[in-house]
């Protein structure tokens, strides 16, 4: 049994009367990649800030590398890398200097930083932009530089708060590829995201947060098995309102959801269900059978109502 690298018990973060994080417990093993899923305002970022020993927990216990962030903040921060939600690069400095200066905060000698900067720029495909000012970089490049910067102290834990929000698909895939490589090198990854595909791609295990609490946890597959069905049938009918189909379709599905533009049937055998529906003379305008995804789990657990 390895000791968890990160452990939280009944963790609370309160701002005035508002509990941003309301008693969460989890533990992460070394080398694992662990995800926090949840809508905006679920308490993910507040949790990240406590883990990274930046903001103090209001209550509960937290241990990182077996140390208490309340008393060993500088030591913990020296061993983790943080990729914040918003880029916090030094706009007036060059790409290379951003890395080298950041490394100085960790008391790393300049000669070593020069070498590490070269390696990290190659790793994040930014070598050609080394001497450009950060202001001139694209969004994806800034994001990669932020990741390179977070790696300058060779962290054992890398914390990524919505790492790919706002990036185009090419940039996202390049980032995912780099995160895979880090994981293979043994870096523990802590990721928050509201992209389900990202969570499925990157996370060994994850928790779903809503209103400051953990509402579900497990591997992506476990979550789908427990909180959804194997497959989903999406049906569209030629009508202004799909409400009328609820009662007619309910017998075919374990669970059914009527949306303004379509009906979702949660089932184990999608093709079989579709065949039986056709047998009953129900003819949708279009029909799609797909595997259940984390998105279905997410929407089921946190609801479809807009939260911001």
């Amino acid at each position: 049994m390895t000791e968890p690298i990160l452990q939280a018990r009944d963790l609370v973060k309160r701002f005035g009367e508002f509990n941003a994080v309301d008693g969460v417990s989890f533990s992460v093993d070394p080398g694992e990649s662990f995800g926090f899923l949840g809508p905006n305002g679920a308490g993910k970022t507040s949790t990240m800030r406590m883990i990274s020993a930046v903001s103090q927990p209001t209550a509960g216990s937290l241990s990182v590398f077996g140390l208490d962030p309340r008393t060993h903040g500088p030591e913990i921060r020296g061993r983790i890398g943080v990729v914040p939600q918003e880029d916090t690069l030094e706009l007036e400095l060059s790409v290379r200097l951003n890395l080298e200066m950041f490394g100085r905060y960790f008391d790393i000698p300049r000669a070593i930083l020069r070498e590490r900067a070269i390696d990290l720029l190659a790793f994040t495909q930014l070598s050609e932009r080394a001497d450009d000012r950060v202001e001139d970089l694209s969004g994806g490049m800034k994001r990669r530089l932020t990741i390179a910067r977070a790696l300058i102290n060779q962290p054992e834990i890398l914390i990524l708060d919505e790492p790919t929000t706002g990036l185009d698909p090419q940039a996202r895939h390049l980032l995912w590829d780099r995160l895979y490589r880090l994981k293979r090198e043994g870096v523990t990854l802590i990721i928050t995201t509201h992209y389900m595909d990202e969570a499925e791609q990157l996370c060994d295990r994850l928790v779903v947060m809503d209103h400051g609490t953990i509402v579900a946890s497990g591997t992506p597959r476990e979550l789908i098995t427990h909180h959804s069905t194997r497959e989903v049938v999406e049906l569209r009918f030629n009508t202004d309102s799909h409400d009328g189909y609820h009662d007619r379709l309910a017998p075919f599905a374990q669970r059914l959801e009527v949306l303004p533009d379509r009906v979702l049937l949660y089932v184990d055998e999608g093709d079989e269900t579709l065949r039986r529906i056709h047998e009953h003379q129900i003819t949708p305008m279009s029909a799609l059978v797909r595997r259940s995804s984390l998105e279905d789990v997410f929407l089921r657990l946190t609801g479809r109502t807009l939260v911001d």
Partner: protein
Amino acid sequence: MLTRTLPRFGSRRSLRVFERNLTVYRSQWLMLISGFFEPLFYLLSIGLGLNHLVGPLRVGGHVVSYATFVAPGMLATSAMNGAMIDTIFNTFFRLKISHSYDAILSTPLDVTDVALGEVWWALARAGAYGASFIVCMVLLGDAGSAWVALCWPAAILTSLTFSAIGLAACTYVRSWQDFDLVTLVQLPIFLFSATFFPISLYPHWLGAIVAISPLYQSAALLRGLSLGVFQWVMLGRIAYLVVLALVGLRVAANRFRRILVP
């Protein structure tokens, strides 16, 4: 060890913030150089220009030229402007636009290190600019006596006081528009602090108000030192500037903590 026993005052890690500022300003060397030309502009424009229009003045039993009278006031003003511009504008930028401090706080440094690092920076900058100002004063013959050397630590104290006030003030700035308010406060301080003429020219009630101005206290202190006229009241002026600096730093540190690590 220092961090654990004295967490409220920052640690030697604060020197990294100084290093950061130096790194950033090195890429803006033109701005850094301009700070050394500033004293020449001040002394030549106001000192030389008005010196011919305004006759000699009596200060504490000494008769001095107007240029000699006004130079310490200009030194105080230059220390104030340098400190206010650097803290209010640049610190606001780091705090709320580029979020540099948020990045720094994810490293072993903490809020007290950041605040202390900015103080180191303010002191070093004040030391360099203050020294160059005093050298210019001596070269242009505007120094009242050899005691002018004591203006150096006094100018550094002035910068520290205004840096502390600026650090505290910048945490209340919400957007660039609010800088108009800063100008609104800074301009009358500059114009009414008896930096260009003796405070005795004011009516009594106005003189009492002006005495509150840290710029007046600094200018009066520097003037005394430059002329080698020592009075007990100068200790009071030093104490006033020190207290303002400490209060400013205290407020700044609390506000930084509130904004950066809620």
